[in-house]
């Protein structure tokens, strides 16, 4: 799948700009703060997951009412014209071939993109929240119709927390709160188990792809991913029914404390993904990458997760998702730069940004896009 032509209107620092993209490697070059990342971000938005960088409200150019992204998207034999509109407070509206589509599922079914930028280091180093979001998004990228699982879970969690909060503290809950808590517990376990099962399935699918990429880029070593949940143990099955039972049993143990604290204390909202690795040469022991890996290793690890995501999506969707690498090369040592430049050749459309064009010359770009102050100029490799 690929984006052939992109028109940005009042999008971040772009007033109005038309950009033609190659189906292969597009090198996006320019000085800092000219709009390179914004261009990659716009392509990611076409996938229907909002901005990879934060609240969608910031997508609108200062002083403008709305931001527009128009794109010709090709998947297989089919080319679809996509119009996106972000209006602060109104959310996003999408048209496919001029016809309004409800929600964002149609966008997610049309394209998939993988974004990797400097902030992605937080995927390893940051809070569990980021790793959960990574998994939950991947669930939906693989199976767009699964977006209801997370939505239902979010609603149940909110309702149950509201109930726990409203239950009188100390001397035991009021009768009606206790009576209704039972039904919210049941909903909590059912939807929570569905969400956890979806995550486990995706993590199991992702792990071999990410591990392979880690070995390649690190030149050895081993990467392992495992789901961490206080309410599961080694014997818990990965099917929805086993997970529901495990969640229900764990809930029984913490319910009194939950009523005291007024919040759900266990469940998928607190789970995490453990990223363990051993560097080349230290084959024997796996260490928690969050705590023990060097900054460089953490970056390699995050890159392996994202490239693994790209590989998994390629196999699952039968087509390369669009790869967006934002300012990644400058952070890597020469050996890893060379490896990455090689790895992104021939894996479909990619947009790779860099402030120092020299860093990726060897990648063999099909097109070079120079960005200056929200204006783009395309050129062939070798120009200027």
């Amino acid at each position: 799948m690929r984006v052939d032509r992109l028109v940005l209107e009042d999008f971040r620092n772009y007033e109005r700009e038309e950009i033609d993209l190659s189906g292969g490697l597009n090198l996006v070059v320019g000085r800092n703060a000219q709009g390179k990342t914004n261009l990659l971000e716009a392509v990611y938005c076409i996938g229907g997951f909002g901005s990879p960088r934060g609240p969608d409200a910031t997508l609108v150019r200062e002083g403008a009412e709305r931001a527009l992204v128009h794109a010709d998207v090709t998947r297989g034999e089919r080319t679809v014209h996509v119009d996106l509109e972000y209006r602060p407070g109104r959310g996003m509206r999408a048209l496919l071939n001029g016809t309004a589509v409800p929600g964002v599922r149609a966008l997610r079914e049309l394209t998939a993109a993988v974004f990797f930028g400097p902030d992605e280091l937080s995927l390893i180093k940051g809070s569990p929240d980021g790793r959960r979001r990574f998994l939950d998004e991947l669930v939906v990228k693989l199976r767009p119709a699964r977006d209801t699982i997370k939505r239902e879970w979010d609603r149940v969690l909110k309702q149950r927390n509201a109930l726990l909060r409203s239950a009188p503290r100390g001397g035991g809950p009021g009768r009606s709160a206790r009576e209704t808590l039972v039904v919210w517990d049941e909903a909590f376990c059912k939807t929570g188990a569905e969400l956890a099962a979806a995550r486990l399935e995706v993590l199991a699918a992702l792990t071999p792809y990410a591990a392979k990429r880690y070995e390649e880029v690190a030149g050895g070593g081993r990467l392992e991913l495992s789901y961490q949940a206080s309410w599961m143990d080694g014997s818990t099955g990965a099917d929805v029914e086993s997970l529901r039972e495990a969640l229900a049993a764990a809930l029984d143990e913490v319910r009194t404390r939950e009523l005291e604290r007024g919040v759900s204390l266990i469940g998928p909202q607190r789970d995490d993904v453990a990223v363990n690795l051993s560097s080349a040469g230290y084959q024997q022991s796996l260490l928690d990458a969050r705590a023990y890996a060097s900054q460089g290793d953490q970056r390699t690890c995050a890159l392996a997760l994202k490239l693994g995501e790209h590989d998994l999506l390629t196999d699952a969707l039968g087509d390369h998702p669009i790869l967006l690498l934002d300012d990644v090369f400058s952070e890597l040592d020469p050996a890893r730069r060379a490896w990455l430049a090689d790895a992104i050749r021939g894996i479909g459309q990619s947009l790779v940004s860099s402030a120092e064009p020299g860093a990726i010359e060897s990648a063999g770009a099909a097109r070079i896009i120079r960005i200056e102050a929200g204006r783009a100029a395309a050129g062939e490799p070798g120009d200027g």
Binding site: D147, R155, K158, Q159, R160, A187
Partner: protein, 207 residues
């Protein structure tokens, strides 16, 4: 929202904006429509609101809207009093009646459980429903089945589950409207939750 118009106009806009489904912009549009309408038209609307408010009340038994003490279904001698269909709001009754498939009575909860909005069982007509089940009206037979027709979403499901736990011990059969594939729909476009429910609630085909 900032005050933009002179007193009475702004008052009207504010009142309209408090209605469900009407935001500030729609409220403004309706307000100016009313101001430009003839005095008779405006008075007729005001009169209709006051009349409805004066004359329409809730049925003493099932809490449907009614212009008498009992609603038309509770008054009717042709309805089956051994079945009660529990719905969230009066418009749900209209939807079910349109099918002409149902001949029993109703009970309107006037909402669904929602801790976020602070709605608990005591805010719904649950106690009144239990009373109907425990002590049938003079001369009417005991209720044999309660059909829970709350909305098929998280809140409606939780409400259904809650009712089932209360009602089953009374020896009354509790059923839930089936959830699943829309008739005339396309399997491949169904979301997984709907499809999952449809598989859960599948029925034997008699060949």
């Amino acid at each position: 929202m900032a005050m933009l118009y002179a007193g009475p106009i702004q008052d009207l806009i504010d009142e309209l904006a408090r209605m469900p489904g009407i935001g500030p912009k729609s409220a403004q549009r309706v307000a100016f429509y009313l101001l430009q309408a003839s005095t008779e038209d405006a008075k007729r609307l005001a009169h209709a609101i006051v009349e409805a408010k004066d004359k329409v009340r809730f049925c003493e038994r099932c809490f449907n809207v009614s212009d008498q003490d009992l609603c038309e279904y509770c008054r009717s001698t042709r309805r089956d009093p051994t079945i009660i269909c529990v719905v969230q709001d009066p418009p749900d009754i209209v939807a079910i009646e349109r099918t002409r498939e149902y001949q029993g009575l109703y009970h309107v909860l006037q909402g669904a459980l929602s801790p976020i909005e602070g709605i608990g069982p005591e805010d719904l007509r649950v106690a009144e429903l239990l009373k109907r089940l425990r002590t049938p009206e003079d001369g009417s037979p005991a209720v044999a089945e309660v059909i829970v027709a709350t909305n098929p979403n998280i809140d409606g499901d939780a409400t259904a589950m809650y009712l089932a736990r209360l009602i089953s011990p009374l020896g009354v059969l509790v059923t839930r409207l089936a959830s699943g594939m829309p008739v005339g729909g396309d399997l491949e476009y169904a979301d997984e939750v709907t499809l999952g429910r449809a598989i859960e609630g599948r029925r034997r085909l008699e060949g």
